[in-house]
């Protein structure tokens, strides 16, 4: 307990398709997102959980921000049900088609608009984009220090936070607040919202901001597809790799595999 108002924490969330259920059309390279139910990017739930734990310990307020189509509101409501205090959805056709730079600019602008923040948390990456770039890019656009792959938060004081960053070997970093962290799944186990909380969250407000609402902080032509620096030229769905696919059953399988290991020089 170190200050009267506690920490003001912003959590960045993305709604993603359930990757186990998405269908990929090998012929056309189309990703049929409608085939899969949407969920909150699993890594972002660890970021939210960390924010809620900090709030429980030190007091404060948790604001969740997402960017996406209208239906991303359900991920924000889920976050409210888990204990977030305030939810903002950046949603506007002008924001669509954004690469990581244009996404990070929109999120950074929204955080500037909120103006009062001590800590920004997000997942280490998303399961659809897989880039892990948006977090560090937001930090750079806001001019804040960041630590990536945070698997442990050791200490928080009014001025600074000490964290363990897992980059293969583990490093201890001390960051001056405000700062941004991207977190791994090892950080914690996200809580589940109760049914009661879910029902209650259905009535809570989710603010929707458009590109125009951010225009004081970023020019609209820096956002969305227009503001993107990369373009997807084509998508290829790899068919199952060029594998031999030889299946052994029965008693001679041991001999067959041993022979392959020997012939390939794996048995020194």
């Amino acid at each position: 307990m170190f200050m009267s108002n506690g920490l003001r924490i912003v959590v960045l969330l993305k709604q993603v398709p359930d990757i186990e259920k998405v269908r990929f059309d090998v012929e056309t390279g189309r990703i049929d997102r409608s085939s899969a139910p949407a969920e909150t990017n699993p890594f972002d739930l660890n970021a939210l959980e960390a924010a809620l734990q900090i709030k429980e310990k030190h007091g404060g307020e948790v604001t969740v921000i997402s960017m996406g189509p209208k239906q991303a509101e359900s991920s924000l409501r889920d976050a409210l049900a888990r204990g977030a205090d305030k939810a903002i959805l950046l949603s506007d056709p002008k924001l669509a088609g954004a690469d990581t730079i244009a996404t990070a600019k929109a999120l950074a602008a929204a955080i500037r608009k909120i103006s009062n923040y001590d800590l920004i948390l997000c997942g280490e990456k998303t399961v659809d984009g897989d880039t892990g770039q948006v977090g560090p890019e937001v930090a750079e656009f806001l001019g804040l220090p960041h630590a990536a792959y945070v698997c442990e938060i050791r200490e928080i004081t009014k001025e600074k936070i000490t964290v363990v960053s897992d980059m293969g070997d583990k490093y201890l970093y001390e960051l001056k607040l405000p700062a941004l962290l991207t977190v791994t799944k090892e950080l914690n186990s996200p809580r589940l919202p109760t049914l009661r909380d879910l029902l209650k969250a259905r009535r809570l407000p989710v603010e929707v901001w458009t590109a125009e609402d951010l225009s004081e902080y970023v020019s609209p032509n820096e956002l969305g597809y227009e503001g993107s620096k990369t373009r997807v030229v084509k998508v290829v769905i790899p068919t199952t790799e060029h594998r031999k696919g030889i299946i052994f059953r029965g008693d001679d399988a041991v001999e067959r595999i041993a022979k392959i290991l020997l012939e390939e020089g794996f048995v020194a």
Binding site: V127, D130, S165
Partner: protein, 333 residues
């Protein structure tokens, strides 16, 4: 400053010296440079690393920028970002490549944002199209698709996955220029590295042989069985996420989307069904052998050799046979 067009390669420093991914990037940069009549430049930052710069020339660099300073010993993302951003603004490369290591993926986005340029993460290939444009190829959707990406700003920035590019042969007669930089001011705003606190138990990305266990294992002690097989093959133990979640083995051993991406010469999946998350971490292994009781397990569709069997029966017999062969081999020689 320079009229010449160039490709800049960030050489990452590992404990043992230059991280091998740096040589792989130089190999690819050399190939593209020769095609487009560009130069290959490299940059290395760290402490007591000046003597390593010539290695970068042996592997294809025409010019190497060296920032050697005690204050660069720690991996400080602000310090490194500031120096690299300034260098890019000075020498204006067309392309800037970094390794998709955890450090590279941590640092690259900060630089891309500072330069306001596009960055493509974790590429598995770079191609030059008929117009001389760079096409970056990368897996997305947890490895389910391959996106072809073009950058419309400069420089084209990409992080490249380990073990996908080939280094050129080391040639100690290659000549190049080494430029030593002594930065006066080193910015480290707001971040202090208090040091490395633990070393990974095992380096899976570097391993040639991985014997990995999954849900098919019944208890923690059974990992010993896999360990014995791995020892015989000169390999190390990997695991799918459930075993790490159970606390049977440390995350250093985890293969998959939220763990390590690996590309060994041999991957033996024991009792692993092959979820998309697991496949994303190992599907590029050179040879894959899968052992599973369930003939419909997805892992079999990604394996060169599949064995439909109980690993508790199969692996002890395989170990016994390999031991016998080994002993026999020794006697024979």
């Amino acid at each position: 400053m320079s009229e010449l067009k160039g490709i800049l390669v960030y050489a990452e420093v590992a404990e043992s010296g230059i991280h091998p991914i740096s040589f792989e990037l130089l190999g690819k940069a050399r190939e593209i440079a020769d095609k487009l009549d560009f130069k290959v430049w490299s940059v290395i930052l760290g402490h007591n690393i000046s003597d390593k710069a010539s290695e970068l020339i042996y592997y294809g660099a025409d010019k190497v920028y060296v920032y050697d300073d005690e204050r660069l010993r720690d991996l400080n993302v602000i310090t490194y970002k500031t120096l690299l951003t300034a260098l890019v603004k000075e020498i204006k490369p067309e392309i800037f490549l970094m390794g998709a290591t955890p450090w590279g993926r941590n640092l690259a986005p900060r630089i891309a944002a500072a330069l306001n340029t596009g960055l493509t993460a974790d590429c598995t290939d770079l191609q030059v199209d008929e117009n001389g444009k760079i096409i970056q190829i990368r897996p997305a959707f947890t490895g389910n698709i391959l996106a072809h990406i073009e950058t419309v700003s400069k420089p084209v920035m990409a992080t490249i996955r380990y073990k996908v590019m080939k280094p050129i042969e080391r040639n100690t007669r290659r000549k190049g220029e080494i430029i030593i930089r002594r930065p006066e001011k080193i910015e480290a705003d707001g971040i202090k590295c208090l040091g490395k606190i633990s070393r990974r138990e095992v380096n899976l990305p570097d391993a040639d042989v991985i014997v990995a266990g999954g849900r098919g294992l019944k208890k923690k002690e059974d990992l010993k069985l896999l360990e014995e097989l791995a020892d015989l093959l000169g390999g190390v133990i990997g695991a799918s996420r459930p075993l790490v979640d159970e606390g049977w083995i440390s995350k250093d051993h985890q293969v998959g989307f939220s763990g390590n991406t690996v590309k060994p010469k041999l991957y033996i999946a024991c009792g692993i069904s092959g979820s998309p998350q697991h496949l994303a971490g190992m599907r590029d292994s050179r040879m894959i052998i899968a052992i599973n009781t369930d003939p419909s397990a997805p892992i079999f569709r990604h394996a060169d050799y599949g064995v439909v069997a109980d690993l508790y029966e199969f692996i002890p017999r395989l170990i016994a046979l390999l031991k016998k062969v080994k002993k026999h081999g020794k006697q024979g020689s």
